[in-house]
Assembly symmetry: C2
Homo-oligomer: 785 residues x 2
């Protein structure tokens, strides 16, 4: 992770303020200020469209197909990929001041401030600008993507003339096939497939709005975008609209005297479908617009705040003693909510809907990092994401058959469900994604206690993945169950035997599938599960090989890993990181160098499989090898650092995870925010410092506060309850915010919790031998000394 750049934001508890426009940080700020409800995503582009780093208007799962080329092909390589595309841009509002376009690159910018308000759920902007000809105007806009009305975004746009009368022309637009910066792809066919991806089908306008319908060229998806406006201002303004194939435009002309204000509320509605007809889709977005206008601008704002009030009651994490971290944790929670809130049986992508990074794909990190958090903060969003997985089971069965295995093989990366990975050693071979999905299912059932979900959704996913593992592994001559030739989470190691992470997760997958099938015997029978099959899962789980290096006293990440040469970190200058950009895979794979937590993640997710002593030794061993070239690492290292008594280090890692986008630590926040790292922030707090574990025997906490902080408080939903945990230096307080009495454990001791808060002491922290990171790869130290 790179050192903090000069960050573009101020530190405030509930606001993210960009006090002045910084053209160099444009891409990062567009991502951090992206608004989304999980269905619609609008990057934080300026109202007038330019300057921009990357214009972005996304609809969840709306993609175009593109060729996947290979210098040397192979059986089972996917030939076609899926890429999220920029749909009809409905956030554009252009302004002409006496014939001069409002463009911040010209004239004088006296003030430019944008504020993301995490409690209001709005992005506001205030600009004072003087045109090259000397006309001064004040522009204030507020943008929301509604969390309550899924198809709706809205903008309130106000212009005031400051010193002299002026004729204003406001053009509010829908723009399809927007001209984008080049993707820099070296394959011209990919560029071609993604340039002007939308084919116009219909365009209409009425006095105050317009509707555009398009279909993608290859994937055959249809999108409708519609807008409507409410205008108020001095007498005599005029509103007209027009539409052509790729543009809908409402033009408002008004002459304003100094101090007068022109105020426009723009409602935008989106809908897409792979099946619905033009008239159906057209009417759908017009209906959404009608509902939004009925609710009104203030109504939308009120609904938004009420939704968020309810959310933050549970989800807010309070941190005393580090204002920057306090803000970052809230921003992280906000983006996790935005990614999942209204995704509703669609995938949650690695970047949410904040950018085009990773082509908009979803990976294993949604299940491993994001859903366990949503299960505790917004359980319906987690349930829906898992229902999406269930909905793509037919594709996963097909893929398994193609790969010669049984059960389901979920895609390593996808939008719609088909495998889109073009490099199988770090794609298809990473079968652990199937156990990761099963684990998210297991955690969700534990967190919610939702028996119907368990029977209708969880069971089928668990059975399908258990069948995969049973067929992917085999018993060796000594009777051990091996899983050979797969890739674990660490992408600097590939195609290995008995990756400990994979084997432990598969083991749990097999066990939980058998237990769940036993609990829902009739539903399981409908899936063809019988007692023999359940026994074969349990047997494989019981015989699962978990390699251990007796000489070093640690678990090798996979068979033989600890025999490999240790990477020469001393001779690796900082500019070589991330290594994958400067070193061939072959060299990374054959040496001990770790991109991201793998064995350490296994310890976080399967703490039951390690003794405390093993956990300490393993953590120290892998800490010295892990370079964190992936953002999917710091949060995990935070958790296990906290568990092994390295509280200061845990604090450093928590901050790294939380600040990844606010401080652009990975240098690529312009491609979208890092949803998994942000979700991991909550886990670092709750599981790490809170010591929260959740293994089926009940909820337990082992809270510990790092010396530099004076208080941490976090909340969660637990089987229909709302719970809050506060960690203070020498005690912890548990409070049931809502729901029936419950039992939990505090540092192993049972505790009954009802209406009254319970306070329990926290013992002193034992001293532990410090651990070391590879040369130059220690996290930035936040703790004093």
């Amino acid at each position: 992770m790179s050192p903090d750049p000069a960050r573009p934001f101020t530190v405030e508890p509930w606001l993210v303020r960009e006090p002045k426009l910084d053209l160099d940080a444009l891409g990062q700020v567009e991502s951090v200020f992206a608004l989304s409800n999980g269905h619609i995503g609008l990057r934080g582009n300026l109202d007038e469209g330019e300057p921009h780093a990357m214009p972005g208007t996304y609809l969840n799962s709306f993609y175009e197909r593109r060729p996947l080329p290979y210098a040397e092909g192979g059986y089972g390589y996917p030939e076609s990929g899926q890429t999220i595309i920029n749909v009809t841009n409905g956030k554009i509002i252009r302004l002409l001041v006496e014939d001069e376009p409002f463009d911040l690159r010209y004239g004088h910018l006296h003030r430019h401030e944008r504020v993301l308000d995490l409690q209001a759920g709005t992005l506001t902007r205030e600009v004072e600008w003087e045109s090259p000809a000397g006309r001064a105007v004040k522009v204030r806009s507020t943008r929301i993507v509604s969390l309550t009305q899924r198809a709706i975004a809205a903008i309130c746009y106000e212009v005031e003339v400051l010193d002299a009368p002026a004729l204003l022309v406001v053009q509010s637009e829908l723009v399809a096939n927007e001209q984008l910066p080049s993707r820099g792809d070296d394959d011209p066919r990919v560029e071609a497939a993604l340039t002007d991806p939308l084919v116009a089908e219909q365009h209409r306008s009425d006095e105050a709005g317009a509707t555009l319908l398009h279909q993608t060229r290859r994937s055959g998806l249809r999108v409708a975008a519609a807008m409507d406006h409410e205008v108020s201002g001095p007498n005599g303004f005029k509103t007209t609209s027009e539409a052509t194939e790729d543009i809908g435009r409402t033009t408002i002309i008004a002459r304003l005297a100094p101090g007068e204000k022109l105020s426009i509320v723009k409602y935008v509605a989106y809908g897409w479908s792979a099946r619905r007809s033009q008239p159906a889709l057209h009417d759908q977005v017009r209906a959404a617009l009608a509902a939004a206008r009925y609710t009104g601008w203030q109504g939308l704002l009120d609904e938004q705040r009420a939704y968020l009030d309810e959310f933050w009651t549970t989800a807010d994490v309070e941190i005393d003693g580090d204002a920057e971290l306090q803000q970052a944790v809230r921003v992280a929670t906000w983006h996790v909510l935005q990614a999942g809130a209204r995704a509703e049986r669609r995938a949650i992508g690695a970047k949410g809907l904040t950018g085009e990074g990773y082509d908009g794909h979803t990976f294993w990190d949604t299940e491993t990092f994001c859903l366990p958090v949503l299960s505790h903060l917004a359980p319906e969003a987690a349930a829906d994401a898992l229902r999406w997985r269930q909905s793509i089971l037919p594709l996963a069965y097909e893929r398994a058959e193609q790969l010669g295995v049984k059960g389901a093989a979920f895609p390593w990366r996808t939008i719609r469900g088909q495998e889109c990975s073009g490099y199988w050693p770090a794609g298809t071979a990473a079968f652990h994604i199937n156990a990761d999905i099963a684990d998210a299912v297991r955690r969700h059932v534990l967190a919610t206690g939702d028996v119907e979900f368990e029977r209708e959704v969880a069971l089928e996913l668990l059975v399908a993945t258990a069948r995969l593992w049973r067929s992917l592994g085999h018993h060796d001559s000594a009777g051990e169950f091996r899983i050979d030739g797969v890739t674990g989470p660490d992408e600097y190691t590939a195609i290995v035997d008995n990756n400990v992470y994979t084997n432990l997760m598969a083991q749990q997958n097999l066990r939980v599938a058998a237990d769940t099938a036993a609990r829902h015997a009739r539903a399981a029978a409908r899936l063809g599960v019988n007692a023999e099959e359940m026994a074969s899962w349990r047997d494989a789980a019981k015989s699962m090989r978990i390699p251990f290096d007796e000489v070093l006293g640690v678990h090798p990440q996979s068979e033989g890993f600890t025999d490999h040469q240790v990477w020469d970190f001393e001779s690796t200058p900082a500019k070589m990181y991330p290594l994958l950009l400067n070193v061939p895979y072959f060299d990374l794979y054959r040496k001990q160098v770790i991109k991201q937590a793998d064995l350490v993640l296994a310890m976080q997710l399967r703490p039951d499989a390690f003794t405390p002593e093993q956990m300490k030794r393993n953590f120290a061993y892998y800490e010295a090898l892990t370079v964190r070239d992936s953002s999917l690492s710091a949060c995990t290292q935070a958790v296990v650092a906290a568990w092994t008594g390295h509280l200061d280090l845990a604090y450093d890692y928590l901050a790294e995870a939380a600040l990844v986008d606010l401080n652009d630590l990975a240098g690529n926040s312009d491609h979208g925010v890092h949803i998994a790292s942000m979700a991991g922030t909550w886990t670092a707090v709750a599981a790490g410092f809170g010591g929260m574990r959740n293994d089926g025997t009940g909820l337990q906490f082992s809270p510990r506060l790092p010396p530099a902080l004076s208080r941490i408080s976090f909340g969660l939903r637990w089987q229909g309850r709302q719970l809050r945990v506060e960690i203070r230096p020498e005690e912890a307080e548990y409070r049931l915010v809502s729901g029936p009495p419950m039992r939990l454990r505090h540092h192993g001791e049972p505790l009954a919790l009802a209406e009254d808060p319970q306070i329990r002491p926290i013992g002193p922290v034992e001293w532990v031998e410090p651990v070391e990171q590879p040369h130059g790869r220690a996290p930035r130290a936040r703790h004093p000394g």
Copy 2:
């Protein structure tokens, strides 16, 4: 290997006769009848150009660059590949008979016979054809690619009118940018790069010939082709020539009465260069033409036969008791000679110059299978191929640096020297190619005793490759020297630790480099080698890890291999082979299934590293796992089968290796012949049945005859001598054809050989436990019972 198809050829000792035209076998026959001297290659296309399967005129190392695309790129992936291209076609001679084109697809074909004569080095053709209008002609053509005049091909073309007078027009052409069948590549950019690759630079004609100069569009190579004609026939024929950018054409018009003959000798000269100017290249080919005309047609034929008489004196293998195999072994030897004879410091490709398979690339098999044979049959050709490797050392040093290793990293596949592999797990990771080159160097020095070659060529190659191994491997904590994360010969296993083949070959590479440096201390010092470095090579060799499975009593092909699941051969139907076309790599890599000899090849090349008992057990173990989806396997299995007493099986494998193209066993002979399998035929005879070994302590033989054969005789060059070995059922005869007296060993017993032949008895063969192949993958049994 598929069962024999109805083969298009008759069985004769020295001829390959195609008694009638079979349009379905066109591609295979074009490859088998391809003529080459290692510099020029002409596929066996019909004189008149069509019908064809693939027109082919190749110049060694004349290639075009093409893009190598990746769905997901990576550091160190080559961006540009090299593909052999069809250059100016000089073998076209079209005929018009009274306005009707001579085209075998029309009219009546009364007779069509082609004969490849392995002693004359010619391809002749005799046709009797009646035009749709009823005019009968007899055409006889003889084609040679001169082994003595490297730039020259020539055709003698005779037409006779059979029953009525006819006006004949013969058009003899040079055609550049010939229209080719589509490559079927799914990447249109590749198709584009290779369509019309030649840009015209110059065209000239004179009365009886023409010259064309072109340059490739991307690789910037320049090619000149020129032709000249000698015509004889009844009075009144007329010869004119013309040239345009892509066509040179000499037209001969003659009116023939029945029984009269028109006879044309066409001389074609080729030259290419990356540096020489148009005038220089133009003059070069005209000079070659002048020399050829000075020699004359009969002179070229005489030279060709004399060259081959000399060659066959040593190279001929006689087999009594199997006429088909006798022919096949000669054809195999012929193609190996053609591939290498006049390559002269250019690469010898996997298909020689007989087709475009594998893009015309050279791989490790040239060094492992082909050069050890040439070192004994045509030593200068082997020396030149190794000098080519030396000439690309600068590129290999560069590649090593890019990969983060020291010394030289030779390309897995290339024409000019740059890595062209687009799939690194089965390309760049197959580092064994470097030890294979070193081994070819070692064998060449042993075979020839050429001290100057050792000092000037061998030493540098050995040092460069030893340095690679020293840096690629490392000592583990137990002091063993490991080589992790590489791929051995078997392409159904990849990226493994301590591949036994690789480690044994690297061990020898390190030792021989140290020994050679010690013998040439001053030359070694100039390469920066000092005593410390030599000691570090010897030390690494001494500590080399060679894994052994104590439970099974066999060597695992690589670390952990024998723990993997055995492929389910019983459930794999014949149509699934070759597996790589129907199964993903991931499934092949993680199971015990072997494409081609790997550990067994290690036993062939490093017999000193195995006890006789290990060799037997290993052979039986790997025989049961090897499916021979590669043609680089049967010959090796033949050798080790013979050594372990499986003489019948060795005989079956020898036949499979020898017949690969005559019987199109791999189903892809249309892409070019399998040079390595053909070379392996000689090795199966000499090393397998002859028991020839060559380890620096002197030459030894342990001859054994399979019961079904009554005699095998083979010859070789040995340190300036010509030697012949004849194996009869109960005795072997050694004869020194030329050169000074020598010592050798017969079944371990010393034997002094001078003028008089020596006969020694062969003991009876011990009975051995039969071995088994995977279900359905046994070679076709030739032996009775």
